[in-house]
């Protein structure tokens, strides 16, 4: 069992005027793979370092397995950490690096040997055990860093942007390796990244942070489908969600530029109930929820004409940067022959459209 609870955790640096982490409340379940994601300076790494014990907690309580560990030294928290820049000991061999933590903890030589060999097998590091870190590639170094954490058999794995120094191809490969490793080791893992793709592909649950505050906690699907606010919608997903200023008329139609689109009744009902009729809103729609409309006779109440600014061919898909009146709209469609300047007809999947309050940025429906 390794449940981690953050209870009103705050962090204020010395000389710092504001809080780097503001009132963080989170419960991480046993064996969960949780990802902290957010732009730089959002407090994700600081939170991880507080859990590791490398950073003092200014206010609040941190529990690991129901035990308050605010004052516990990192070595007494039964955690292992993988750093962004590997932090391998350059004067030790790969074996030495992996064995060091066990040696310090006075493990028997046979046991150290067994564990290091086993981890090296899993990570494919067998032939490199006698090499120094300088003689390894970036990917191999990161594997050693993972191995160093693995041999300790910790309750909790902490990973601070472990893949951000690797090239794109290796990153994708290591991503799946880390997930496999997590399944194999069954340890609670907290993973910090600024890369939303990593968060989406790896996490059981994602914690999205911004300016020291949690914006949303949820499974990747929950967060993708129902972003709690405009920030989350724009941060998760590539290309980001489209945000369009819209006006909701008293008749239950929304006006986007010169166009008027009818809203499904279920959405109308909710918006009406929440008193958003006749006011400005922000409509949000994912690029893949906008479709090309080839049939001229289709219902004009959901079809808009747009002009292509730029067409980006990605292979099987095509990203179209379009304009409707003065509103920018990014559309993801199956690849075809698109040229800038072309006029296309677009239909919104209105059930997938989300509405946000323009003042608070919060999701309405």
């Amino acid at each position: 069992m390794s449940r981690i609870v953050l209870n009103h955790i705050k962090k204020r640096y010395k000389n710092g005027k504001s809080f780097a982490v503001k009132d963080m409340n989170l419960s991480i379940e046993n064996r969960e793979f949780i990802v902290f994601v957010g732009p730089s300076g959002c407090g994700k790494s600081t939170t991880l370092r507080m859990i590791a014990g490398l950073e003092e907690i200014s206010e609040g309580d941190l529990y690991i397995n129901e035990k308050r560990v605010n004052e516990a030294a990192p070595k007494d928290r039964d955690i292992a950490m993988v750093f962004q820049n590997y932090a391998l000991y350059p004067h030790m061999t790969v074996y030495g690096n992996m064995a060091f933590g066990l040696k310090i903890r006075k493990f028997k030589k046979d046991e150290i040997n067994r564990r290091v060999t086993e981890a090296a097998n899993v990570l494919g590091l067998n032939e490199f055990l006698n090499r120094k870190p300088t003689a390894l590639s970036g990917g191999q170094r990161q594997r050693v860093a993972l191995g160093r954490a693995m041999v300790r058999n910790p309750k909790v794995f902490l990973m601070d942007e472990p893949l951000s120094n690797l090239d794109a191809k290796l990153r994708i490969q290591m991503r799946s390796e880390i997930i496999k490793l997590h399944r194999r080791l069954n340890a609670t893992t907290i993973y910090v990244t600024h890369d939303q793709t990593e968060a989406m592909t790896m996490a059981d649950r994602i914690v999205i942070m911004r300016e020291g505050e949690i914006q949303q906690i949820g499974t990747p699907k929950e967060i993708y489908d129902n972003p709690a606010n405009i920030f989350v919608g724009s941060f998760i997903g590539s290309p980001a969600m489209n945000f369009i200023p819209a006006m909701l008329s008293l008749e239950g139609q929304i006006h986007i530029g010169n166009h008027t689109i009818s809203l499904p009744e279920n959405k109308q009902a909710v918006l009406k109930k929440k008193n958003y009729f006749g006011v400005e809103l922000v409509a949000g729609i994912r690029p893949e929820d906008i479709h090309l409309e080839h049939d001229d006779s289709s219902d004009s109440s959901t079809v808009l004409t747009a002009k292509i600014d730029v067409a980006e061919l990605l292979g099987s898909e095509c990203i179209l940067y379009t304009k409707i009146n003065n509103v920018d709209l990014v559309v993801k469609v199956k690849s075809g022959d698109f040229k800038s300047g072309d006029e296309i007809k677009l239909a919104f999947d209105m059930q997938k459209m989300r509405f946000f309050d323009p003042e608070t940025g919060k999701l309405i429906i």
């Binding site: 070595k75 820049n85 932090a87 391998l88 060091f100 933590g101 310090i104 120094k132 870190p133 390894l136």
Partner: protein, 275 residues
């Protein structure tokens, strides 16, 4: 590109030659007979050389004692100065405490006092501590003199080591002490090498301090011993022997440099973190 490289090498060669010239001069002079040294116009220095001066210098015996004394003084200073400076610099580089910046500047400020100006007060202090005419007294003075700059040298090296290494060690279960001895110290060897080199140079070649604080001839370091050869009232100065002794006295410095040079090679930390 090629022209730029050539110009660089020419300039560097001129500087290297400028640095080498006194050494070369010392070596050539050490091989001359007294007649050749005192003749005017000069005889052909490169024709009539002999190793007699070295024989005289070594047979006089005093030079051995001088070298041994210098080694004791320098060795003692090295151990005290580098140990204290390394520990102090580690604390200054890695731990937060009140007045740290002021302390660092204060340490640097001590270097503004010219060595000569401190001779009289230092003599007074040694006297009141009953350390006049002792190696201990001299070693303490040299240590006090070299510790500040050594702190700065080591501080720079510790600052350059990535903080993650220390943090990784802490997570691995190291205490402050084991982090220092098992992780930081091996990586700080280039810095320690540089500090040793600096301390050695400062101490081995110093002349004024032992001259003023040591009275016992048997305790004189090599530099003061050499002084004895100058201006002998009866025999006159045998410059050939002085130069030969100087060459012998330079050898440890040379050896020291050859030994520590490998520590200067940077890049020991490359591979620790993404570079």
């Amino acid at each position: 590109m090629k022209t730029k490289l050539t110009v660089t090498y020419v300039i560097l060669s001129v500087f290297a030659l400028g640095g080498l010239l006194p050494v070369l001069w010392m070596f050539v002079m050490s091989l001359q007979t007294p007649r050749a040294l005192n003749s005017f116009p000069t005889l052909n220095w490169f024709k009539d050389f002999e190793f007699n001066n070295y024989q005289i210098a070594l047979n006089q015996g005093g030079i051995y004692q001088g070298l041994i004394n210098s080694s004791i003084i320098t060795g003692g200073t090295l151990i005290i100065s580098v140990t204290f400076a390394t520990l102090a610099a580690y604390a200054l580089a890695n731990f937060e405490f009140k007045g740290k910046a002021l302390l660092l500047i204060g340490i640097l400020m001590t270097q503004l006092i010219p060595g000569m100006a401190a001779i009289v007060p230092l003599f007074d202090i040694l006297k009141s501590l009953h350390l006049i005419n002792t190696y201990t007294g001299l070693i303490l003075i040299f240590a006090a003199r070299t510790i500040p700059l050594n702190i700065w040298i080591m501080h720079g090296f510790f600052k350059e080591l990535p903080a993650e290494l220390r943090e990784a060690a802490i997570i691995d279960g190291c205490s402050v002490y084991t982090t220092f001895t098992r992780i930081i110290l091996p990586l700080a060897l280039p810095g320690i090498g540089a500090a040793c080199m600096f301390t050695f140079m400062q101490t081995w070649i110093d002349f004024i301090m032992p001259l003023t604080t040591l009275f016992d001839q048997n305790k004189f370091p090599f530099t003061v011993m050499l002084y004895k050869y100058v201006g002998d009232p009866i025999m006159g100065t045998n410059y050939g022997v002085v130069f030969a002794s100087a060459v012998i006295g330079t050898l440890p410095t040379l050896l020291m440099f050859v030994f520590f040079q490998r520590f200067f090679v940077k890049g020991l930390t490359s591979g620790a973190v993404k570079g």
